[in-house]
Amino acid sequence: MSGLLSFMSFVICVALVGAAWVAIRSTSLPMAILAAGLVSLLASLMFLILAAPDVAMTEAAIGCGLTTFLFFFVLGRVRGGEHD
């Protein structure tokens, strides 16, 4: 494992925890959903560095793409209820 890759994975892990903090603590629901999508995207980068390209592809397509849109579709259906 080269030094550059170690440094990159360290930066990605810090960003991962930061994005998760935003996803948990944000009071605005669209912000939280986008931050959760960002967590998935960074995790998929991390899977690629950890030599798991199959899992990285699945996480990017399913965890980051489809899940975010499922959340937004439901958010569009519950207009007015998201501020409770």
Partner: protein, 236 residues
Amino acid sequence: MTKRIFVFGMLIGLGAIFIDLLLSYTPDSALNQTARYYAERTATDLGAANIVAAVIVTYRGLDTLGEVTVLFLTAAILVMVLYRDHGIGINKIPNRFLPPTGEMLGTGSRLLVPLILLMGVYLFANGHLTPGGGFQGGAIIASAVLLLLLTNPNQTFNLQLFSLTESISGIGFVVIGVLGMFFAGGFLDNRIFPIGQLGELFSAGAIPVIYTLIGLKVGAEFSSILVHLSEEKEES
């Protein structure tokens, strides 16, 4: 307030367990016995270059059959929950007001949808050689449907086609598994077709066939989940 204290106490306890696990973690230096078996025997026995695909489709194929069943149940229960009052059917408001779709999205989707579909098919047809496979390819096919849905939210999809694709590929998956019991070593054995040369497209026996069926099934299921969740229902 007591609830907060309770929550923090629980999290601190769990965190202590995690820190203990983290400090006592020592990475393996060699593969364990199961992984060694997979690494040594996959290429000679099954002829698949992607060992993860071989584990998913053949060695643990029954798990995958269960997983696909769980996805099918999810899609079915979702329709049941969303349409409990009206019965199954499309009952959206015919021409609800929407801001017009931008020129860029319309043209872009006409250009991109065939390419995205091709990418999905490529992924699951080459699942035994390169990273990728049925689940990834299916999700990418569903994202093509998602792009169509974003371009024109009032679009009606042929839901019959989705459920027909899903049923046929599910039945095909089980039939190929049962054929393995008669012509090869057991349920879901991939050696019912010739194994061929390692690294070629038509190799690895039934793995590309099963992965194609899984890809079609997963794509149809995710597409129907997306279409049902995005549909606006008439308030009754």
